[in-house]
Amino acid sequence: MTATIATPSDLASPRAGFVTRFAAGIADAVILFVFLRGAVWLSSASANVLRRFAPPVDLATLVILGAPLIVALYHVVFWRLSGQTPGKWLLGIRVTPIGGGKLPLRRAVLRLVGYLFSALPFYLGFLWILGPERRGFHDRLARTEVVYAR
């Protein structure tokens, strides 16, 4: 008995490879960095303008502390709504559950958690994408795949 592996060319919409997904990740990182940096700058500027009317908490610190939550929301919301973060849209790829359809919220959150586990052992979970199935650890955990959306 031999186990058949679905290679990218066998699929209706071929799975995206490592380079494309890495480029999409970089695009997302840039977008998030610009957004967070702008938010920190706006918080500091508004605190300076308001002076004694400003809230007692440091808004910039609040933004920095809330950055992980913002990043998580960014990914989960975009995956849930359209399967594409802006970076993935730019590179023309989409996250879909195995079998098609929209990605449920639970699996989107699971995929995000899978990101952490993929990154922990020296990003080996991400390097798994270079394999013939083009799926990383987080994809296997959430039973998702990333396909070319063209």
Partner: protein, 232 residues
């Protein structure tokens, strides 16, 4: 003697033309005229060759026809030569005028003593002093008037230049505004921008997709597995 020199000069020029047959050594007439004539000749040649190719009877071919025309003198050449000669004389007119003036001055020198004597006699005439004073006053008034005109002219030049500049700026702004407000232009710019963006994104996507395959092949080669079937 001047005529002799001119004749010799002209002859040598024609001799040059006969010997070389070229245009570069014949330095007569302004450049714009030569350019215009050349343009007319070239247009004629081109039209002739086009008509010859299209089979119109009596139409001549391009370059050989021009060579033949150069060999056979025609009234057209005479007219061109006359025009060039006239322009050449026009260019030499200031020098000729100066020569005329110096000749007149030389002949006037001969009459200078008689003129001085006549002036002295005129001063002794009754009412000459008053006339001279009137003349000086009139001369001074004219000079002042001239100075005033010059000042007014200078002011006018500055003002008109400023007005022209303002008007040109306003016209340019209006033209730009009109062009910028044009819906067709807006549509073209939008379409081009969208086209450029779409092309750039498509290029990025195709390149990244190619890079996917390359990276996977490199990893497989590194791990010694070779190319797998079905993968890109």
């Amino acid at each position: 003697m001047v005529a002799a020199v001119a004749v010799r000069h002209r002859r040598s020029r024609f001799q040059e033309m006969d010997e070389t047959g070229g245009v570069a050594t014949v330095a007569t007439g302004p450049r714009w005229l030569r350019f215009g004539l050349g343009l007319i000749v070239l247009t004629g040649d081109t039209l002739g060759s086009v008509l010859a190719v299209s089979g119109v009877p009596g139409a001549s071919t391009g370059v050989p026809a021009s060579s033949a025309a150069r060999a056979r003198p025609s009234p057209r050449h005479a007219a061109w030569g006359m025009l060039v000669d006239l322009l050449d004389r026009g260019q030499r007119a200031p020098a000729l005028f100066r020569a005329c003036l110096s000749r007149a001055a030389r002949s006037a020198h001969r009459f200078a003593p008689s003129m001085a004597r006549a002036r002295r006699l005129a001063r002794r005439l009754p009412g000459a002093t008053r006339s001279a004073a009137h003349w000086h006053a009139w001369h001074t008034r004219r000079r002042i008037q001239l100075a005033r005109w010059v000042a007014v002219g200078q002011r006018e030049e500055v003002a008109s230049r400023a007005v022209a500049r303002e008007a040109l700026l306003a016209m340019r702004e209006a033209a730009f505004a009109r062009v910028a407000d044009s819906p067709d232009l807006k549509r073209v710019i939008r379409e081009q921008s969208e086209g450029i963006a779409v092309t750039a994104v498509a290029e990025l996507r195709s390149r990244s997709a190619r890079a996917d395959g390359l990276a996977e092949r490199a990893v497989r080669r590194l791990l010694g597995r070779g190319d797998a079937e079905g993968t890109r």
